[in-house]
Every structure is written in C-alpha cells, then in structure tokens.
Symmetry: C2
DNA sequence: TAGATTGTTAATCGATTAACAATC
DNA sequence: TAGATTGTTAATCGATTAACAATC
C-alpha cells in the first residue's frame, strides 16, 4: 500500500496508446527509443511523453532513451495487465459475441468466464468454448464464481436493473455498452463505450468541416 | 459559410451526452429545464453547461431556462443529425453485424447502404435487408454510390490497405474499430473506437482502486 | 415589478509545452 | 570525456468554475 498521487484521467487515457505503440515496436524488433522518436511516431510532443511516464517513475536513462521491452512491461503493470481479470458478458447478441471472440483480450489477461442472455434460443449455445446461460442463473453464478468485470451489452432499458443486481452481488467493475450513464457506488468502477456518441462526434466533424470548406 | 470559431474537442465530446439527456427529458415529457437542474442530473457544473452551449449561440432565456425540445433540436443540428449520412460497413463479422443492427443509428440519420467482407461464406447473406458483398466489389460500388462514412470493423493487419483505397475513392469519414491509429489526409475525418484501450483503462482503475484501498 | 436564470466576463485551476540542469 | 537524452522545474496555454450584470 504505497502512497499514490492521483493521476489525471488525461494521462490514464494515453497509457493504452503508449502500450500499443510499444507493442508494435517490440514486434518490429526495436530495442530502444527516445521520447523524441516516439513523439514523431505518435504525433504527440516528447515533453508530454516524458511527463506522462514520470508520473509513475523514471523508466528511461539519460543519453540512451527507453528500453522498449522494459517500458512496455512497466506500463503493462501500471495498467494491471500483469494480473488476470475474470470477466463475464451480459447480453450475448452480436456485440456480446463480438467481444467474446476478441482473442486479444485474453492475451492481456482478461479471461472470459461466462456469457448470459435472456433469449431462450441462445441457451446452451457455445461461443469460444463457453456456453451461453440464461439470465436467471446469473445471481447464483456470481455467488459461486469470482468475477471481477461484467461487460454489459444489453439494451438501456434493462441496464439499470441488471446493474443493481451486479452491484449487490459484489461485482467490481462494469464495462458498459448500454446507451445510458450508470451512476453507481464509487467502489464500482465503470467504463462506458457509447457507440452512438462516437458516431455523433464523427458526424459533427464532417459537418463542421463542410461548413469551413464550403459544401456544394 | 459563416465565420466559425474553433470548438474544442472537450466541448464536442460533451455534445452527444447533452443530446442524449435532452432526448430522455423529451421522452419523459419535460418541457423546460434550467442549467442548474440539468447539471444535477448529469453530474456536471451548471457553468459548464452554459459555457458549452454558448459556444454555439444563446439557446436559453433568462429567468426561464431552456426549452427541452428546442435545445435538443438545435444540438442535433450542430451535430449534423438533421442531415442523413450514407454509411457502409467494412467487415461483416460479429462487430460489423452488431453495428448494422443498431436501429438507433438509422434514427439519427445514419443510413446503412452496404456491407462488405472477404469471407465467401458470407457472400449474399442479408443483414437488415442489406446483402453482404465481397470486398473486390467495393471499389466499383464506391464509384457508383455516394457514400460518406465507412465503418471499419476489420483486423488491423488489413486496415491500412483498405484505408488507402477508401481515401482514393473519396470517402469522407472513417469510423475506425481496428486496433490501430489511422493517420490520413486532413480532409478525411477519423473517429476511432479502441475497445482494448477502453478495457485497459477499466483495468487501470480497478488496479489503482485496489492499491488505494488495500487488496486482500 | 420581483425573482429567476441566462449569457458573459473574470478568476482559478490544471494540463501541456518549453527549457535546462542532471546524468548516463 | 563529449554527446545525447532524460527527469524535472518553470512558463504558457487552455479549460473549468465562479461571479454577476443583463434581461426575460
């Protein structure tokens, strides 16, 4: 239990991107990189990279730069990717199944343990070796299994109700794809992916670009 | 072609959320709302709401607040939701099909016109009344149809190559789900949804919460 | 008119960038 | 050692919040 200083959301938001680029560099066999080189690749300032990293300690070496593999591992630890996280997916429609099949999640320590849905047609169907179970089994399942993360790929009309149950059953974190905000107790972590918000941002940028450059 | 002042990304990022809450209020039959009431609902400051809105003009009335329906419509216009946007999806796997089936996109003016994949097993399969076509038809298709947005739900190994072609064919905007950054000419709008980045942020927050509160 | 609440200016806060001494 | 590049402090910039005059 070390005394931690609060890290800003902006910094946390950039860590996965660093991790991704360092992964690509590792794959490309690059051993060392300076903040200057990385800044060019990533289109950010070198200063920002150094500031961001120094929130967590000195990972580089003066006159040398950063060791790619080492830095990647360290950022992975900061992100908690060195530990495994048991996960279930609630809502086994296309989106739920798409998430279930993303192999790269398993690679990063996110272990899919269960899939749940209300649709009886899906009952027992196997996805990636895991059977889809009916929602009425969920509560019991959570009592018997140590699950940390629940991905919520259900309609917003069901989301709040399911959430209440998850919280009661002691779930630690929710990865929310429902089109609604979840205001939960502060000991439950929520990360939301609002796809329609994202598409609207895209639309805004198209529209404002047109206005600036004159549409025909 | 009005002289526009540049709107910050932070502000644009909040607009869809305002739009969503105003939609819920409309559905609930609420006619007017003050920045104070809305701020409580949304867990942001009233000051921020007023500042954000006043980037685009005065939508409220002193002593009264904002008319919910009117404000929603205006934000919709700002986001470009009053116009329709022709869209195709490239990659008709689970994620592509999930996007195709999101009815709410159509409601906001995003019209799905085509679905493309490389997998011959999917050839001709209908999703939401639209047949999946093979990728080798894409170039010709784009020449014959006015498509604004391409959603990219393909592996990152294919993304760059497909992107080059899209840009050459004059696509205006890319909604990118591939696990890679796209650095395209500045007249092509890119909005990326990096699902694994999102999951890593979740993982970071779990991990740092544990550290703060002592894990067992 | 009096009360309420906006639109907007000013103050504060935080994040990004620049600069440079420390050091490998 | 000399050169390179970090870690870190200081300067700048931008975004958020507070305050209040304008006005419905």
């Amino acid at each position: 239990m070390v005394e931690e200083k609060e890290i800003s959301k902006a910094v946390v938001g950039r860590l996965p991107r660093y991790y991704r680029y360092l992964g690509e560099l590792t794959d490309a066999g690059v051993e060392r990189i300076s903040s200057g080189e990385l800044s060019e690749k990533m289109h950010v300032t070198a200063s920002q990279i150094r500031q961001d990293l120094n929130n967590f300690g000195g990972f580089g070496q003066q006159g040398y730069g950063y060791n790619v593999k080492y830095l990647r591992t360290e950022i992975g630890k900061i992100l908690g990717l060195n530990q495994s996280h048991n996960m279930i997916i609630i809502g086994a429609g296309n989106l739920g199944q798409a998430l279930a099949k993303y192999a790269s999640f398993e690679k990063n320590g996110f272990l899919l343990k269960g899939l749940f849905d209300v649709d009886p047609k899906l009952d027992g169907m196997m996805v990636r070796g895991i059977p889809i179970q009916m929602m009425d089994k969920l509560e019991e399942y959570l009592q018997e299994n140590e699950i940390e993360i629940a991905a919520l790929t259900i309609p917003k009309s069901k989301a709040l109700e399911v959430c209440d149950m998850l919280v009661e059953c002691g779930i630690k974190a929710i990865w929310n794809f429902a089109h609604t905000d979840l205001h939960l107790p502060e000991d439950v972590i929520v990360e939301s992916v609002h796809l329609s918000d994202s598409l609207m941002k895209l639309s805004y940028n198209i529209t404002s670009y047109k206005e600036e450059h004159g549409e025909s």
